[in-house]
């Protein structure tokens, strides 16, 4: 009996110990956190406080920076990670070590919001709140979550250049910037040119008698109908994800293609584009595409990229959006369509609007931003800014796009020629850089200027050429959507509140469009009802506030 009691006591104590052990790890890390509020991991990497704070060489002191960018951990976990020379050179150059903090495309917003609430944000992280959730951006800035950029950005010339963009200037909170836009182009007019690609099968169009871009919505409809008549099992128009459903609006009411954010001036009053008198007719065109059987019947129930996969598999004539530049997708297309060539994939130009112009997508030349945790001390912040600034430079764009000169490519007559085998890719060779390298920029400008290496893989090279040709054509022939950034990016309490109802990916204004398009009732009346329903979500208050502010700022 006594032994039994001892045994039971021992088991119970063991169970207790297990529970406490499970709880103890957090306590340990908390207790070892520095008085400055930095996580323990940062403390061990940071030099002791007794060291001299400043040095003549701003890079003399090693720094560890925690960084959250999509799938960064995957790059670090790759068996080839330690051989990533571009990353290793970068860390040596800036005397840093990088602590990866994983976020994925499925959880980034949720994770970072929770980290912000629990003071666990990484030092540098990507998010999309400055434009998409202005209210949260202001809150994080005002409540000490984010670090403000210094007023003097002369030490960081690339950052300084981006912050001068008209699309960035309005994003101050109490006169300070709290983010750096993650642009693809330092030149604002190039941004948006390829943001809403209309990918199509040129070979199918040619078979149906169409060898040039449509000159009107009616011609576009006729083209899709003609192709579908020849390919009755195929979908006419597939969409890559929700926002791409708005692409055809570039041919009717270009500002409405940014319906979550864009504001337009109508009869002297600034109003959101979705509330414009021109919006219902633009909505009606998309409704017609669906009800005439041209738009993918499953567009509303598909997950992201399902529609694009139909295109890759030869089951759709057009894909609105989709990352055709990804070598894996190019190979998937080649494999699924043995009778077609990769060069049969074309970039269609949007048809002209009533004013005779063709318009490229236009909003901000970035959709996300780089942020810095307010826990960074000045020295560490300086290093973080130097890192971001360098990663925006042309030198780094060349490394990301072409690899190392003399190793991965050579210059012949001013052209970069690949030295890699057809099966070898920069992504395989530099796994960390392939994820981490896009922290500060998409590096699109480098490619747009024709500096990207000619890929050793002929299929990838063919798509690169088509994209480059389309970029140059659309940039020279089309106009940017007329967006007034001062108004569109203005922050007022009612406007921010309205944005909170418009922008969510689930339940926002784009979902209202989905509903109207799917509905059998008159789309014009249905859209008017949608607009009316936003009165209860602060539409009229937002219009009043924005116009009062615009008047004060002297904006016509």
């Amino acid at each position: 009996m006594r032994n039994k009691k001892r045994f039971v006591t021992a088991i119970s104590l063991l169970a207790f110990a297990t529970v406490f052990a499970g709880c103890s790890s957090n306590n340990d890390s908390d207790s070892s956190a520095s008085s400055s509020g930095q996580p323990a991991s940062e403390q061990t990497a940071s030099p002791s406080a007794s060291e001299p704070a400043a040095s003549a060489d701003p890079l003399a002191k090693p720094q560890e920076l925690s960084v959250a960018i999509w799938d960064i951990q995957d790059g670090f976990d790759n068996p080839e990670a330690k051989n990533d020379t571009i990353y290793n050179d970068l860390t040596k150059k800036l005397n840093i070590t990088v602590k990866p903090v994983q976020i994925t495309w499925n959880d980034w917003q949720e994770k970072e919001k929770v980290w912000a609430a629990s003071a666990q944000l990484p030092d540098i992280f990507a998010n999309a709140i400055a434009t998409d959730n202005r209210s949260l951006y202001s809150t994080w800035a005002k409540q000490g979550v984010l670090k403000a950029l210094p007023d003097d950005l002369s030490a960081y010339p690339n950052i300084a250049q981006v912050m001068e963009l008209p699309s960035a200037k309005p994003l101050t909170v109490d006169g300070k910037f709290y983010m750096v836009p993650r642009v693809g182009f330092l030149d604002g007019s190039s941004a948006g040119v390829m943001d809403r690609p209309i990918l199509y099968r040129k070979d199918w169009a040619a078979q149906a008698g169409y060898t040039s871009d449509p000159n009107s919505y009616e011609e576009f409809v006729a083209m899709v109908k003609a192709v579908m008549a020849q390919h009755p099992d195929a979908t006419g128009i597939a969409i890559n994800n929700k926002d791409y459903l708005l692409t055809p609006m570039l041919g009717s009411f270009p500002e409405l293609a940014s319906m979550k954010d864009a504001w337009v001036n109508e009869d002297g009053t600034w109003i959101p584009a979705f509330a414009s008198a021109k919006a219902p007719d633009a909505v009606k065109q998309i409704w017609e595409l669906y009800h005439n059987g041209l738009l993918d019947k499953d567009f509303a129930i598909q997950k992201d990229a399902d529609g694009f996969r139909k295109f890759l598999n030869g089951q759709a004539f057009i894909s609105l959006g989709g990352n055709i530049r990804d070598p894996n997708n190019i190979e998937a297309f080649a494999k699924a369509n043995p009778d077609a060539k990769v060069s049969d994939i074309g970039y269609m130009s949007i048809w002209p609007t009533a004013d005779g112009n063709r318009y490229n997508f236009g909003l901000t030349p970035y959709w996300s931003e780089t942020f810095f945790s307010n826990k960074l001390d000045d020295e560490k912040f300086d290093r973080a800014l130097r890192l971001v600034d360098y990663m925006m430079s042309e030198e780094y764009s060349a490394l990301i796009s072409n690899g190392i000169e003399g190793v991965d490519y050579k210059l012949e007559d001013g052209k970069a020629v690949s030295l890699l085998g057809t099966e070898q890719t920069l992504v395989q060779k530099y796994p960390i850089t392939s994820k981490f390298g896009y922290l500060a920029s998409w590096h699109s400008q480098f490619e747009a200027e024709g500096k990207k290496v000619v890929n050793a893989n002929p299929n990838v090279a063919a798509i690169d050429t088509a994209a480059s040709e389309a970029f140059n054509r659309f940039k020279s022939e089309n106009k940017a959507s007329p967006i007034n950034f001062e108004i569109t990016l203005m922050s007022t309490p009612a406007k921010d509140k309205l944005a909170g109802a418009l922008t969510p990916n689930n339940g926002g204004i784009v979902d209202e469009l989905f509903n109207v398009v799917l509905s059998k009732s008159d789309p014009v009346e249905a859209w008017k009802k949608v607009v009316k329903s936003y009165d209860a979500k602060g539409l009229q208050d937002a219009i009043t506030e924005v116009n009062a502010e615009a008047k004060e700022m002297g904006i016509q």
């Binding site: 119970s12 609430a117 959730n133 409540q143």
Partner: protein, 319 residues
């Protein structure tokens, strides 16, 4: 022994008698309590302690001050919640879907258990039970993919309609059809698993009762009605109370993975609203905590009401 000493001894309080009944109980079964202590601790740490966050329903969350330091705003969050049309829609949907689940889904495992009990014992019963239980272990992410495949324009469902010369239907974008899919898919996924509890109750029935009933000439249906059902009924009563107490949880995993813009009007429930307001909208933690708080209060009230009803009106054992 002198009288005074005797008196003193008589009046000396017995330490065991002076203990409260609870302390006596714990002292008597201390080893059992020690064994259960880790579980109690687990619930305290991970269920009760986090409840302090509920104060956010009465505060405006400040990232720099945390939950305790954030300023109190009285019932400000409640005003925002009630003024938000999305809340009213989500509330209505939650109630409708949950009552639908009670009416349509709740009886399914009971029927399944009763039917399984009628299958002659042996391998067949085990195979059938395994087949019905297996879907419980498939996540809604996977099931939603399967359902989208089945109900897409070129999916199995529409192919069957075409085969019979009928017009194709977009089931997942039509509100009422979508709701039917919610109920049916949940029955398919969970009925087998939920039936285990009823089967366990049925397993406790003395087989001699069935033999005696058979001798008395009772057929299978009469045996089920007179012997099996009274046993199943008590289990069903307890599970019904729990189901009613869970009524404001409309089934987040299932709906979140299955819904699409066309059916938000019919399927946006309080849980999806809380998720959206906490992580996507600008409405924030105060709003979502308030919705969650309201949900819990209603659930608790319904649980108590159902328990009272079962005990006093239906004269069954409650909680």
């Amino acid at each position: 022994m002198s009288n005074s000493v005797q008196t003193a001894l008589q009046h000396k309080p017995d330490p065991r008698r002076s203990r409260s009944p609870l302390r006596n109980e714990i002292s008597k079964h201390k080893y059992l309590y020690i064994l259960v202590a880790p579980t109690i601790l687990f619930y305290l740490l991970f269920t009760y302690v986090p409840m302090y966050g509920i104060v956010l329903a009465f505060k405006e969350f400040d990232y720099s001050k945390g939950i305790f330091g954030s300023p109190w705003i009285g019932f400000g969050n409640f005003s925002n919640v009630f003024a938000n049309p999305d809340f009213l829609n989500a509330f209505r949907n939650t109630v409708l879907i949950s009552f639908g689940r009670l009416l349509i889904e709740f009886p399914a495992p009971i029927l399944l258990a009763l039917l399984l009990n009628e299958v002659s014992k042996g391998k067949l019963t085990r195979v059938i039970q395994t087949v019905f239980t297996f879907p419980h272990f498939i996540s809604w992410v996977v099931i939603s993919g399967i359902l989208v495949g089945i109900f897409s324009s070129q999916g199995l469902y529409n192919q069957l309609l075409f085969l019979f010369g009928l017009e194709g239907r977009s089931v997942l974008t039509d509100g009422p059809s979508f709701t039917a899919v919610l109920f049916l898919s949940n029955i398919w996924k969970e009925a087998g698993w939920s039936a285990i509890l009823y089967l366990a109750a049925i397993a406790g029935i003395n087989p001699e009762l069935y033999e005696a009933a058979a001798v008395d000439g009772a057929n299978r249906f009469q045996q089920m009605k007179a012997i099996t059902w009274p046993v199943v009924k008590s289990t069903a009563a307890v599970l019904l109370i729990l189901a009613v107490g869970n009524i404001m949880n409309g089934g987040f995993d299932q709906i979140f993975n299955l819904y699409n813009p066309a059916v938000y009007k019919y399927s946006d429930i309080l849980d999806t609203l809380v998720y959206r307001s906490a992580f996507q909208d600008a409405t924030g933690f105060g709003f979502s905590t308030t919705v969650g708080f309201l949900k819990s209060v209603i659930n608790c009230a319904l649980l108590l009401a159902a328990n009272y009803f079962i005990k006093t009106v239906a004269k069954e054992e409650g909680l």
